[in-house]
Symmetry: C2
Subunit: 453 residues, 2 copies
């Protein structure tokens, strides 16, 4: 059964909607009301109206069809609520409620699992924060605490709700766009394999980022992942790698984490890119969603700060990228307009008085150079000679068809501009090392695409 109703429902029931401000059932209803522009049915047998919406005592009381149920009732009565949903012919339900296998209540979870076997309903959760996309916001966090990211091309899967919501907040803060966000918690039914299959053909998803604690079925996982990674990149951050971390996983989402080596090998086989920490997950997804692959390992570094250029050079060489010399013509062309103290060797140092025009001319030469397949561009925007034209220059550098990652770090003045860069499709990183690693990942995904099977 398709997952479409989770993402494009025409009507939603919020079962367990609450009148009490701050309660999950209240915040969820408020966010649904604010984001979702079609029919909404709050279910609460003890009142007649919440947030200006008429309430019902049960989904069975509603005459019109319902596409999606969001369930936020106490764990003990979830089973009955799901039975009612099946009776009402609801095809998709998200169980937000916790209190299942993560606290040892395995029987309770099994009962829900059984209901799914009927193939009459698909379920996301329990113990999750559900789905977020533009026009469908069921998060139980108020918007003043967790900002929502703009529409974009990363789809994000997570077994941890908190991890996912923090990442949403970070993405929003950095102006990085999201297509679909899916927190699936204890995955009683819908799991990563279903979601891989769904996102494989989802036109608005260019990259899948995944916070993973445990895989349900290793073989199926690799098979599904292999299919996706032929079409779009998948980045995974695996939590629970050590014995101690694995034990913590068991008490978090009630699942078994398994050995780190086995997972890494499976990722490799499936063409999945592994993020070593939570920041890499964010960095890699951003680069892969926005930039073309790097076709070989030959890059140039262009900088306006010598120290940052050196740090980027070290990082590039250490991870196996190469900095070949530019062609003789390129060097000649650079020398023609650069001041004598600028450096035309690779790394190319435009020096601390570079303006946007110097970047524009230099990037054009470097990105047209046949020796160079991609550019890590360090632009320290604080430097007084750099005005906002640099944003257009970097944006337009995309037209050369070679990947570019940008390092730009600092306070509010810079962060405001970084956000604008992200909006025009330029991935920005707060350190030279992270900009380089993102470039490396574009190379790695290029290699994955070249694989025969």
């Amino acid at each position: 059964m398709s997952l479409e109703k989770f993402f494009s429902p025409s009507s939603i029931a919020v079962i367990g909607a609450s009148r009490e401000p701050g309660k999950l059932g209240n915040v969820i209803l408020e966010n649904i009301k604010y984001s979702f522009k079609e029919r909404i049915y709050p279910i609460n047998p003890y009142t007649t109206e919440i947030l200006g919406l008429k309430t019902y005592s049960s989904v069975l009381e509603i005459e019109e069809p319902i596409d999606l149920a969001i369930i936020v009732v106490p764990a003990e009565i979830v089973e009955n609520v799901v039975k009612e949903c099946i009776k009402k012919k609801i095809k998709a339900a998200v169980i937000i409620s916790s209190g299942f296998s993560e606290i040892g209540e395995k029987e309770r979870e099994l009962a829900i699992k059984k209901l799914c076997k009927s193939k009459k309903i698909r379920i996301i959760g329990p113990n999750c924060i559900g789905v977020y996309k533009k026009g469908l916001d069921m998060l139980f966090f108020p918007k003043n605490r967790i900002k929502r990211p703009p529409e974009g091309s990363i789809s994000f899967l997570t077994q941890s709700g908190a991890f996912g919501s923090i990442l949403l907040d970070i993405l929003a803060h950095n102006g990085v766009g999201v297509s679909k966000f899916i927190s699936f918690g204890n995955k009683v039914d819908v799991d990563e394999i279903d979601l891989f299959k769904y996102l494989e053909d989802d036109l608005t998803t260019r990259c899948i980022a995944f916070y993973l604690e445990s895989v349900t079925d290793g073989k199926e996982f690799i098979k599904a992942a292999k299919n996706v990674t032929k079409k779009k990149p998948v980045v995974v951050f695996k939590a629970g790698k050590t014995k101690e971390g694995t034990e913590a996983v068991a008490s978090h989402t009630g699942s078994m984490a398994g050995s780190a080596e086995v997972y890494s090998a499976a990722f490799k086989q499936a063409g999945i890119i592994e993020a070593k920490d939570s920041e890499e997950l964010f960095d890699f997804a951003k680069a892969l969603a926005k930039q073309p692959v790097l076709k070989d390992n030959k890059i140039a570094i262009v900088t306006d700060g010598g120290g940052f250029g050196i740090a980027a050079t070290d990082a590039a060489i250490e991870c196996g990228l190469e900095l070949p010399p530019l062609s003789t013509e390129s060097v000649k062309a650079l020398k023609k307009f650069l001041p004598p103290y600028a450096i035309t060797n690779n790394p190319i140092d435009l020096t601390g008085d570079a303006d946007a025009e110097r970047y524009e001319k230099a990037l054009k030469i470097v990105l047209n150079d046949k020796n160079i397949s991609g550019v890590v561009c360090i632009a320290l925007l604080q430097i007084p000679t750099l005005d906002d034209e640099i944003i257009d220059v970097l944006r337009d550098s995309k037209m050369f068809g070679k990947p570019i990652t940008v390092c730009s770090a600092g306070g509010n003045y810079v962060l405001e501009r970084n956000k604008r860069l992200e909006k025009v499709g330029i991935p920005v990183f707060p350190s030279p090392e992270r900009a380089v690693k993102a470039m490396l990942v574009l190379y790695e995904y290029g290699n994955i695409l070249k694989r025969k099977n």
Copy 2:
């Protein structure tokens, strides 16, 4: 000759002060005027007044004594200007001007070096951005581009001006305080050894952070560093580690970078903590400046987000920290007030509905537990049950005398609160892995202090 005049001058001459807004000599004078509350003498032979200050055509024209000269004239005339400073008996000069060995003008640099041999003047620079501390701001970056950090306990040495200024901006943005910032560029005279000796006894410096490209005298460096690191921690980020990076160093500050292995061995011998990338430099300095050492490798992780707790656990185990179980009494005490779904094993999961009181009680128990020597505390401040009381709770956790590092990540709501945590002496990190690494460094410095020689 002491370096005191660089940091506490009673009068300053700005040689090469400019009337033209945006010019270095203008921005520097403006920032000096704004920050420095004693006598200021702008030197410019072509005008009579700049920014409301009377100008002079040479330092020799001034009758009162001058403590510090800031030189920002073209490289060709720097030598003559320094000669005039010596004649005027100025004991300290900062040469901001570039155009020396970094562009191959070695003779020009040698001439300045010779003048220092007379022991009549001490010189910082050339090709640098000089000194910054509260009350003495000679940076040539306007404040709307680069924010100035508050007064604090990190002193920062840098061979790269741009690297240093970006770090200042980042420190300011995060509310992390600085005692002294010294960019010394080509170090014709004052070098890292002089500055180590000076900062060793500087009461307001609790930690030294150092962006290093090359050391002038290896043996002396180790000797001076050994003395400092017995009293306060030193963190170094070495740029120019690869062959390619080393070559880039040569064209940046005109110095020889040398082999990475030799440097790492020297750092180890000297008790210096090495940062592997630019973010580690910032992270480690912050932790070391604000927190006591970790006496053994036994820590606890306290979290309100399961996923972040697992990521922190993996990171801790992977880097050799241990997560021992709490004592039976501690577990009993925790169970007494925690909800049944909370986890009292280490990592301790207070779960996503934790409030400040739950943190307060839990931290008190954990920090009093004799099995535990430090805490990595994950506080996802977005969670609606956490109000601003958590800031006081974390601040007060310092009174147990054990180190604490905090992971808190997100958008503006969170960043605003992180800044307040930094101000009360709690180092905050944007990922669980970085909070753990910072804790590891507190353990490493503890081991350095235990060394016999």
